[in-house]
């Protein structure tokens, strides 16, 4: 255990700059896909210079800014007694700020990318409390099956069908149609 510890920490750091893969698409829509999950494979044609190294100083500044925004939003909402999640207000404020300055400051993106990529880690403490509600889940197996599995499949197909009807005329799939789909994904 002690021997394997340093290796784990190194992989953690590698994970951190692994997540920062920015790719720009060649499609008509000039879009930048921000990969927000470390679980996804890195794009194969992306050269290694595109994976940026985390600047720890900028990360800390960005983290401070984001935390400050959250703190202000939380206290403001407590004052005015509106029942809205503070994080949603924070997202709205930050989004308007990014529109205002027309770009993402390095400090913010250096903090946002690793935080988003490893967000799962931050809600483990909350999910662990599920052991207190096991009785509730076991009591309604059929209702939960229908409302999670069946309703998800139905809404997924209806949404996909509507989007295809609305988007198919725009011919936006061309950029990827010449590539064969990858196996096993």
């Amino acid at each position: 255990m002690i021997l394997s510890l340093p290796r784990l920490q190194i992989t953690f750091i590698i994970n951190f700059d692994f997540t920062l893969v920015l790719t720009s698409s060649k499609s008509k829509i000039e879009s930048k896909a921000l990969i927000i999950s470390p679980l996804a494979p890195p794009p194969q044609n992306t050269p290694s210079k595109f994976s940026l190294r985390i600047n720890l100083f900028q990360f800390l500044i960005g983290l401070f800014l984001l935390s400050f925004l959250f703190f202000v939003a939380q206290n403001l909402l407590l004052q005015v007694q509106i029942n809205v999640p503070p994080a949603s207000l924070g997202i709205a404020v930050l989004f308007c700020g990014l529109l205002w300055i027309k770009g993402v400051p390095k400090a913010i993106s250096n903090a946002a990318n690793p935080l988003l990529a490893h967000m799962s880690l931050f809600f483990i403490p909350a999910i662990v409390a599920i052991v207190n509600f096991i009785d509730l889940i076991v009591a309604f197996p059929l209702a939960l099956f229908f409302s999670i599995v069946v309703s998800t499949l139905v809404s997924l197909s209806i949404t996909a069908w509507i989007s295809q009807r609305l988007m198919h005329k725009l011919d936006i799939t061309n950029s990827n149609s010449d590539k064969p789909p990858r196996e096993g994904d």
């Binding site: 999950s37 984001l66 809205v84 889940i137 936006i172």
Partner: protein, 237 residues
């Protein structure tokens, strides 16, 4: 302040924080290794594996849930700032939003209304308690926003997280086969559906389908998450 600091069990805090982080990293690696087993792959989501391991460890060391939550306050405290960071991917997909306009907004709104409405109807028809119904309303938005919204409308945050993750896994496993079945071959449409209905887990799946798919999924994930978490508390809060 000084007595407050003395009250904290530093050793346990440090140990539990490190244990949580190490288990998470291990689960992350397991998830990457299990990539070829595509059918069970989404079910090995790091969150599921690490939560199960930590629950086992807790029962083994006789640590209660509230004690564990006290020790790992540092991790939960980062959840708020991390959620605010969602504004960055939303901003990066702004071009799509401007170009597609209502063509992408309509499907996202349909998904945002349909998915909670359908699952609420199932629960209502099968006579389940009110807190379960309220919790289920947030199942199609990304976990941190869902937990906040659930506690605002009288649901149970940790249960909301479990419902949200299961919804994501169902979408990620069945999504591609379902699209082939109903004849949706447009990547943008697939991405919109995956992001709007099965949020972050679906978006991770969309990334493996293609670049355009992941861009639309990211946009749908952010838009649906923000809209739902703002509207639900106003309706039921």
């Amino acid at each position: 302040m000084l007595t407050l600091l003395n009250d904290i069990n530093w050793m346990a805090t440090l140990v539990w924080l490190m244990v949580t982080v190490i288990i998470y990293i291990g689960a992350l690696h397991l998830y990457k290794i299990a990539k070829p087993l595509w059918f069970i792959h989404p079910a090995l989501h790091p969150l599921i594996v690490s939560t199960l391991l930590i629950i086992l460890l807790q029962s083994w060391t006789h640590t209660s849930v509230s004690e564990y939550q006290n020790y790992t306050t540092l991790l939960s405290a980062l959840l708020g700032p991390a959620t605010i960071a969602l504004a960055v991917p939303l901003y990066k997909q702004l071009n799509i939003l401007i170009q597609m306009n209502w063509r992408v907004l309509v499907p996202i709104s349909v998904a945002g209304v349909l998915s909670p409405a359908l699952s609420w109807t199932c629960l209502y028809l099968l006579d389940s308690p009110l807190n379960l119904q309220m919790t289920m309303l947030v199942k199609s938005i990304t976990t941190p926003l869902a937990m906040d919204a659930a506690s605002a409308i009288g649901g149970i945050p940790s249960l909301a997280a479990v419902f949200v993750i299961s919804t994501g896994i169902v979408g990620a496993i069945c999504g591609p086969a379902l699209f082939a079945l109903i004849g949706v071959h447009n990547q943008a449409a697939q991405g919109t559906a995956l992001g709007a209905v099965s949020h972050a887990v679906g978006t991770a799946r969309a990334i493996s389908i293609g670049e355009q798919c992941s861009a639309f999924a990211t946009l749908a994930l952010c838009m649906n998450g923000i809209a739902t978490s703002l509207i639900l508390p106003m309706l039921f809060g």
